[in-house]
Amino acid sequence: MSMSATPLSPEVISKDGNAMVLSMGPQHPSTHGVLQIMLEIEGENIVKAEPEIGYLHTGIEKNCENQFWSTAQTNVERMDYLAPSNNAFCYALAVEKLLGITDQIPERAQLIRVLNAELTRIASHCVWLGTGGIDLGALSVFFYTFDLRENILDLQEASGGARMHPNYFRVGGVNGDLPAGYEERLDALVDKFPGRMRDLRALLQANPILQDRMIDVGIMTPEEVVQWNITGPSLRASGIAYDVRKAYPYSGYENLQFDVPTREEGDSYARFLVRLDEMEESMRIIKQVRDKLKKVRGPVMIDDTKVAPPPKETIALSMEALIHHFKYMTEGFRVPPGDVYQATESPRGELAYYIVSDGGNRPYRVRTRPPSMYNLQSLKGMAPGNLIADLVVMIGSVDPVFGEVDR
């Protein structure tokens, strides 16, 4: 968090004396959190935009170093609070790679993880669409999308126990099988989804006001997105079909049929359409996973009491289970020394963890590659030359989450 304003460049001050510095935020409703943007403007035209971040810095990476491998995951979920499961997913995969147990994760656990990750992706895009609509003055979109999101949060609560931060994924699998009645509720969501998407598309996609606000606003060429290190839907809206789920498949994504929506225009409207298409592709994955889950039964946690706590029901019956449980809860487990870079496709782009272990029972270093931070940084290149009103559209179109930008 920087208290001082960005110094004005001398040539701008001298230009007719018309330049003015405007601080947008950090408490501005269109900034989707606590983002301050120092704007140099001439009239309504942006000459320079310098986002100031750090207002939500909570030291998550430092905290992780003082937690067990298992409890650090609780912190990690708090970064991208709109897609907590995706963070936990990536962290669990990274630690599993360090432990060398990637191939021992039960198939049912992998399917449940993919199911939750895709549900979270839809929920996260629902928030983006709802709040993005509010930015443009389309208030009613918010109610449609949050209704859909609520159904997904209900499912998260059923499986993980909490609406916002289910903490359902664990190193070695997931915490318990899906509860009774889950399939029916999932079926209800799958049945509801196409109609709701039809509504949203009818409301927005061909809407002339929305098109006027979004088309040709914040154009990023393929050269620029690569230069600014943009990933996720914003990258694919510029025509580069890079999706970590396809490029470096994990957790069984290679066995699922789905397309990677891309657009060529690279403007805010293209990013909007890519995300809408992505929601439908996610639903396609969810349907396949739902059918597979009916056939694949069995454990949802690795059968290794050094990594996973023993099942609760065995603790009262077996001395060894009790000892393992005590050791797991008081000392955690050790991870062999080494470092790993694990990437996953979060709703915002390539979410990756660079994790270092020194062989102890706590992570030595958990470095996040925050997709939101790099995507948001690109505003510096995107905003100049546009109007202030368009800046609001651009912030919405890169979909930053400040828990992740500031960590």
Binding site: T71, I240, Y242, T262, A352, R367, R369, Q377
Partner: protein
Amino acid sequence: MPSTQSPPLLGGAIDPTAVRPNIDDAIIERTDPAHVRERLAQLKADGYTMLLDVGGVDYPQRTPRFDVVYHLLKMPVRKATLAEVGRPQRLRLLCGVPAENTTVPTATDLWKSADWAEREIYDLFGITFDGHPDMRRIQMPNDWEGYPLRKDYPLRGPARERSPRPSFALKSNVNAGTPPSGRTLEALQAQIAKVRASGDGERSKS
């Protein structure tokens, strides 16, 4: 929090990156601040077009003490289909930075995306990037003391370390400071004893 319940099990690996298990996630290269600039420029020319991430790690026992970790990706710089992107090669460049001279040349002129990442490393590790256009703190306030992600930085911050909040669990800690209410443990205990002696507990009118 576990840190107060059980002692940490130290792994003891002074340089974990040297003993890593066989994980196939990237090509790994090592370099030092004198050569990192040249190597990055060369890699960019070789097709590593995207600077995925720049991070830092602190190994206090090791020489050189810090690692600045670059992750690069061979991404096509044009419109590309799924098949054309394929499985782009990833590369990890570890740049060891000695504790005596924590300066690394910047990569911002090669990749604009290095800007905030380098500022963050400066903010949290105290490694300066020579030639960076705007070397300010980014996450912490400008007047912050110390570099939080260094291993010798206390978890709760230096200010709290100097004047710890007294723990009422241990009587010996009471002298460490007066609690915010201004009431000492003895005063509280005396009040509790008075209420108990009066016999009517919470209904006391005192």
